[in-house]
């Protein structure tokens, strides 16, 4: 079920919130679990079983790892957990990719499995892995209550597109959460903000990307318009979803980690990755990079560790060659910055910002391409090697039509609106005015969002495929 859908907003959410708040505290995790299973089953009825099996195995292995802590058996159970989780991910997400590449290399024709990708498997698998690893490391005790663990893994606000919430971060909240008008209204505001980012900005930019793809009147400038539109689209789509997840979590008493922190204001690629998909970056840092040796090893080994992490990060995003290439692209940029460029970038804010945005735009063109062939074709188009004219009628028309939304998006991708509001709030009168305006704007946006949902048909979530 999509957050940005009428069934979610006007059927599922009111029912769940009513049930949640009238249920006694000790039953609230059960309400979360049942509603999350229903939420997941709405889109993937058959794969609920897969998730239930994953949770059951994770629960049992967590208990066993704790029981045999410091003993060899603990390592074995952890290994089973890793093999099961990575195996499930590999089977459902990458099997056909490996088979088709195997066929291409050997000339054989092994049949593809053509398995539908279970929604959110990349996210909940990583959560499960973090749980068993944290229990193994002794960072957190194993969860004895299966309902609590199942509620954590299946928690619908972040089930299908993150942020990747670590068990250790919410273990206490799973047992004991506080609710207040202040927290609830913060959650509502955040949820509406995320929904607005998704529906008013991301969907419009997504439409523009689709128009470009379908166009037979491409030009160099149209390629660039597409590249900029997609770069903004993916940010508003994904960060909008994270905002919604964080907001819903707050309404239910949870505090999820931030997933984005204005990545497009970064002055280096290193900084960009500290601000973009923070929960995924920190997951790979804590569960792959540091166990491989992290920074505390020789330079060549450190470089190797970075390459491995970014290759995996790329692969995590999809089973096509352009994804690992996208990951390695960033690995190389990060290595270059680490080696010598980082210090030089500090000299000019403007140049460093242009440098980051140029490279990020290129990266997302690779990311969104239809395989590596598509990436080469799109990049050729951008740099005038595709045999298309510099401009075209469609480019001019769609630039005019979508320029306002692009400007809204460019401003919205910076902390400027937030800073302006904070500045006004510094004065007592300003704070009062903002307090009056805020509920009006939120309700106004909610009505506007409903209008777009009632009329619109374009509403995919980009990160559902991961």
């Amino acid at each position: 079920m999509l957050f940005s859908s009428i069934p979610f907003l006007y059927y599922f959410l009111p029912a769940v919130l009513l049930l949640y708040f009238i249920a006694p505290k000790k039953l609230r995790n059960a309400v979360i679990l049942l509603s999350s299973l229903f939420f997941y089953a709405w889109g993937e009825p058959k794969y609920v079983i897969l998730m239930a099996v994953s949770i059951t195995i994770g629960y049992i292995l967590g208990l066993l790892i704790e029981k045999f802590r410091e003993k060899t058996a603990s390592k074995i159970f952890l290994a089973i957990s890793v093999i099961f989780s990575v195996g499930a991910l590999g089977y459902f997400k990458y099997a056909d990719f490996f088979i088709s590449n195997f066929n291409a290399v050997t000339g054989l024709s092994v049949s593809l499995l053509r398995i539908a990708l279970p929604i959110g498997i990349s996210f909940y698998t990583f959560q499960l892995l973090s749980y068993t690893i944290d229990v193994y490391r002794g960072d957190t005790p194993a969860q004895k209550n299966p309902i609590t663990l199942a509620a954590y893994i299946s928690l619908f606000p972040q089930l299908i597109a993150g942020p990747i919430v670590r068990y250790s971060d919410v273990a206490l909240q799973l047992e004991n959460r506080t609710h207040s008008f202040s927290k609830t209204s913060d959650g509502i505001r955040r949820f509406i903000l995320g929904l607005s980012k998704k529906i008013l900005i991301a969907n419009a930019l997504g439409e523009l990307c689709d128009i470009f793809r379908a166009s037979e009147d491409k030009s160099v400038l149209f390629f660039w318009l597409y590249a900029v539109a997609f770069t903004l689209h993916i940010y508003f789509d994904f960060s909008g979803y994270s905002d919604m997840a964080i907001g819903l979590g707050k309404i239910m008493g949870f505090e999820f980690m931030e997933n984005f922190n204005y990545p497009y204001i970064s002055k280096s690629v290193t900084e960009f990755w500290r601000r973009w998909h923070i929960s995924l970056g920190s997951w790979f840092r804590d569960y792959v990079y540091i166990p491989l040796g992290g920074n505390r090893c020789s330079k060549p080994r450190q470089f190797f560790n970075i390459l491995v992490v970014w290759l995996l990060t790329g692969f995590w995003h999809g089973a096509e060659w352009n994804f690992p290439v996208w990951g390695l692209y960033f690995a190389i940029l990060l290595l270059i910055e680490k080696s010598f460029l980082l210090e030089k970038l500090k000299k000019s804010k403007v140049i460093s910002h242009i440098y980051v945005m140029f490279l990020v735009i290129i990266s997302f063109v690779i990311f969104n391409a239809d395989g590596m062939g598509g990436a080469v074709s799109d990049l050729s188009g951008m740099f005038g090697f595709a045999g298309v004219p510099v401009s075209s009628a469609e480019f001019v028309y769609y630039l005019r039509s979508y320029l306002p939304v692009i400007i809204f998006a460019l401003i919205g991708a910076t902390p400027l609106p937030k800073k302006i509001i904070e500045k006004i709030r510094e004065k007592t009168m300003g704070n009062k005015v903002i307090n009056i305006i805020e509920p009006v704007v939120c309700i106004g946006l909610f009505i506007l969002i409903t209008a777009y949902l009632v009329d619109g048909s374009f509403n995919p979530f980009l990160y559902f495929r991961f």
């Binding site: 009428i6 008008f181 037979e216 469609e394 039509s401 009329d455």
Partner: protein, 368 residues
């Protein structure tokens, strides 16, 4: 307002809005039919295990929940206004407003569709017309984007190319150019069609080109009910309704219209006043979208017959050609297969007019 009160106000307002609309959705879903969009809306999906396990139920329920949302037209208008005035988008769902008209983007020129149309015309010509001593004519009706799109900065078809391509492909017919006889004022502001009261000169010119005098005096009648054209509902913008005017005289009043769509001939009058007050009042003109229809003129001073291969634009044009013919046969190959026309038409010594709008030529997939 302090922070605490603001938190309470926001929480309560959100909860009230969410719950009110939620209860409304469940207790009183919207109507089965959308007048503004002229279509039946999704109904509640059937609940079966198969439907649920295949997730078909969920997909259908999403359609149902969107299409039956309370105050749907109100919300659609909010979205349209937001697109136009907040996001300053040139079009909303391809509908735009310019020069007091609503219109739909028609772009790009689709050569394969033109080929498809031309192939169908050639087939009909070779099979039913070629050896019948028939005079065959071809005319193209420009859609109103021809007058509105380019000058207002919208994507526009390459009309010149469209016409020359079709002329080349149909060189066996005599082309009648009516582009310069029309302007945007000749079209309804909320609909795709032209106004009958504005095209008498077009009819006269076509008649002249076919060697027939169709000049006549008409009484202009006005329908009382407002006409909200097809673009009105799609645009969801506040727009003034059109008025339908229709032309009558004694000759037209005496005409006998026979529709063959039900399998057996049905006698009707030239304007269907029941349809004039129906969901699409433009269908009042010679029965609207029907496959086969004849107009017989008992007052005709000639034995000449005309066969028109047509789309909906000819509904209002055909009555204006009646003066010059004893019988006009209207054939719409969107609703009858061109393979089967032999049973219905005999073009021996007839005039034959192929007249189609640019929109249909550029989207000719419906031709059978």
């Amino acid at each position: 307002m302090n922070d605490k009160i603001k938190s309470i106000v926001l929480t309560v307002l959100s909860a009230v809005m969410l719950l009110t609309l939620s209860v409304w959705c469940i207790a009183k879903p919207g109507d089965d039919y959308s007048d503004s969009e002229r279509r039946v809306l999704a109904s509640f999906p059937e609940i079966t295990w198969e439907n649920i396990l295949s997730a078909e139920f969920m997909a259908d329920f999403e359609d149902y929940s969107v299409e039956r949302f309370p105050m749907r037209d109100f919300f659609r208008s909010i979205k349209a206004l937001s697109e136009k005035y907040i996001f300053v988008k040139k079009d909303n769902n391809d509908i735009y407003s310019a020069d007091g008209h609503l219109s739909k983007l028609e772009y790009p020129l689709n050569i394969s569709m033109l080929d498809n149309a031309a192939d169908k015309f050639s087939f009909i010509y070779e099979k039913y017309l070629e050896d019948k001593n028939a005079d065959v004519y071809f005319s193209i009706v420009p859609d109103k984007n021809y007058f509105l799109a380019e000058k207002n900065g919208y994507l526009s078809l390459d009309y010149e190319n469209l016409v020359s391509y079709m002329k080349e492909k149909t060189s066996y017919m005599t082309y009648i150019d009516i582009f310069d006889k029309l302007s945007s004022d000749d079209y309804y502001t909320t609909d795709t069609h032209w106004k009958q009261e504005n095209i008498t000169d077009v009819a006269e010119y076509i008649g002249e080109c076919m060697g027939v005098d169709v000049k006549a005096e008409y009484k202009v009648n006005t329908l009382e009910n407002p006409f909200y054209g097809v673009y009105y509902g799609q645009a969801a913008l506040p727009f003034r309704a059109d008025t339908i005017k229709y032309l009558t005289n004694d000759v037209l009043d005496n005409c006998i219209v026979t529709s063959y769509d039900t399998g057996k001939p049905e006698k009707k009058s030239i304007y269907n006043m029941e349809k004039a007050f129906g969901k699409d009042p433009y269908e009042m003109f010679t029965e609207g979208t029907v496959a086969l229809l004849t107009i017989e003129n008992p007052d005709a001073q000639t034995e000449k017959e005309l066969i028109i291969f047509r789309d909906s634009f000819s509904g209002s044009l055909a009555p204006l050609l009646v003066q010059g013919y004893k019988k006009i046969t209207l054939v719409d190959i969107r609703y009858v297969s061109s393979q089967m026309l032999g049973s219905f038409i005999n073009a021996e010594n007839c005039d034959v007019l192929f007249i189609y709008s640019t929109i249909l030529l550029n989207n000719s997939l419906a031709f059978k």
